[in-house]
């Protein structure tokens, strides 16, 4: 190396490279997390201001209402899942040029991108779980309701770290029982799946040519509304719910149920969380491998199309 009279290049070990890249990757995600928090918590403050200091019960519907339309996003609500897909997509396009142009290797970019995505998802899931816990523990102070699917996991119809158990029928998720570990695991992995999918899509977009991009956008524009329209087909929905049930390891048993003094035949359903988590982890691994594969082949166009962004 040439002797330097003034200054000298940074001693760049592999750890140093990862550390530099990770800190830069986390910065925009921290902004996103803050914006997300403000966006969803702002109504609480606004309600509080409108109703005066005496208002103790604040009921809030964050994210979206229950919808079985999108597999696995159901666990948290469509809003957050879509947001994570978008974050993964945009950030994979936005950060690459800066990092690659400043001596960070492609593998390090891909790995730190995924690590930063994990950090964002864990933060969001922790916040959601904490709000749900606070809502249960101090309902007079805060009643934070996530989506119905999110609540289901919180209310312990799943059996996580023990034998499968059947809760009292009709009490269900209204019983007050809660399994926040199940909720946190499911929400984290569901959002991770979304953001990894967005990341892989962003990398695929980056290595694709113009024709492939137009074809991809056209396919999404056509297929998503078509798939969404299937929601109104009861037969397809029934099959879809059966598939989801299989993924979740549903266990159903027939039990007589006493309601208002009458014995009513009914079914109790519960499920193990492990099949869903394992399936989600497997899909995450597939998306992560895709992202790494595409990133290692990614190049910067000679002519910058949008300065400072792409």
């Amino acid at each position: 190396m040439i002797g330097t009279r003034r200054g000298g290049a940074r001693n760049n070990t592999a750890v140093n490279q990862y550390s530099i890249a990770l800190r830069r990757q986390i910065a925009p995600r921290a902004v996103i997390f803050c914006a997300w928090t403000v966006w969803y918590l702002a109504p609480v403050s606004l309600t509080h201001l409108v109703n005066g200091a005496g208002l103790l019960l604040v009921r809030m519907h964050a994210m979206s209402s229950y919808s079985p339309g999108i597999p696995y996003v159901e666990g948290l609500g469509r809003g957050s899942g879509a947001m994570m897909v978008l974050c993964g997509f945009v950030l994979s396009l936005a950060m690459f040029r800066e990092l690659l142009s400043n001596a960070v290797a492609r593998t390090a970019i891909a790995c730190t991108h995924m690590l930063a995505n994990v950090a964002l998802v864990v933060a969001v899931a922790l916040l959601g779980t904490a709000l749900s816990f606070l809502s249960d523990t101090f309902p007079t102070l805060l009643s934070f309701h996530n989506s119905f699917g999110f609540e289901v996991f919180a209310r312990s119809q799943v059996s996580v770290f023990g034998p499968i158990r059947f809760p009292d029928l009709m009490l269900g998720w209204m019983s007050g029982e809660a399994d926040y570990v199940a909720m946190f695991c499911t929400v984290t992995l569901t959002l991770l799946l979304c953001i990894f999918a967005g990341h892989a899509a962003g990398e695929l977009w980056a290595v694709s040519g113009a024709i492939a991009r137009v074809t991809g956008v056209a396919a999404v524009v056509v297929l998503v509304p078509t798939a969404y329209s299937f929601r109104s087909d009861p037969g397809l929905m029934a099959r879809y719910i059966r598939v989801i049930g299989l993924m979740r390891g549903h266990v159903t048993r027939f039990v007589p149920h006493t309601l208002l003094g009458y014995d009513l035949p009914n079914y109790q359903t519960t499920f193990s969380i492990w099949p869903q988590l394992a399936f989600t982890v497997a899909l995450c691994a597939v998306f992560a491998a895709m992202s790494l594969f595409f990133t290692r082949r990614r190049q910067l166009a000679g002519v910058q199309r949008v300065m400072g962004i792409l």
Partner: protein, 285 residues
Amino acid sequence: MLSLTNVSKRFGGHDAVRAVNVQFQPGVIYGLLGKNGAGKTSVLSMIGNRTLPDSGTILLDGVSVVDDAPAQRRMFLSNEAWPYPLYSTLSGIFSLVAYYYGDFDRELAGRMLRSFGIGPADRFGRLSEGKRQAVKAILALCTPTDYVMCDEPTKGLDATGRETLYRYILEAYDRRERTIILSTHAIAEVEGIIEHAVVLDGGTVLESFDLSNLVNQGVTLTAERGVMDSYLDKTHPRVMSRQSLGNLSIVAVHGTVRGDLPAGIVSRPLDLQSYVIQLTSGGNL
């Protein structure tokens, strides 16, 4: 030493770079010269890891620089792209570059900014084309790397700005010896700066020579057509181009003229720009 061996690159079915072999020695200022589309930008992009070579090796002191962070940390490429936040202040950008590369020569950067009439609180996205180019050059010259590559560093700069930049290139080199590779079309302007020229054409290296040897690279011969034809038939020199002006014949010849010239032929050494033009014109002048 930075060495490229049989490096090739295709873009959309077009050979941008074809089996390039060239070496860049430490502490030398190079000029990467050639026509538009010669492959200069593509070569620099591959050295700077922006694009990946289809074949061949790029080694820095024996280590491949392709996607190798420690090797890349010793090089800085300033090209058309702007990889930093568009609306950050320039002092913020300097801090960001220091974050990536280590010590940043803020003293020199401050003086260069003042020379170009730019303030540290200015934002890159709000600067004129010429000032943006100046900022890119400032980053390249003040970053503590051993190899600095500037792709068209004077593009958009006025004559005063170009002279100022050349002065700072030499000052930066004097402050800390490093390899500087200038890819430029302003050949006449860099003739007094560069020590070694690498001429590219059609994606391959045509010539690589020290500027001290320029006088031996080619000459222009001027004579009446009959005298010139007779001389060329007799000596068979390597003619790069030939022009006729009435009865006058002007021939650019590669290398030096052996022996004494016959009466009526005037010889004149080629300057760098003329030589590169003759070399890359393919006799089409």
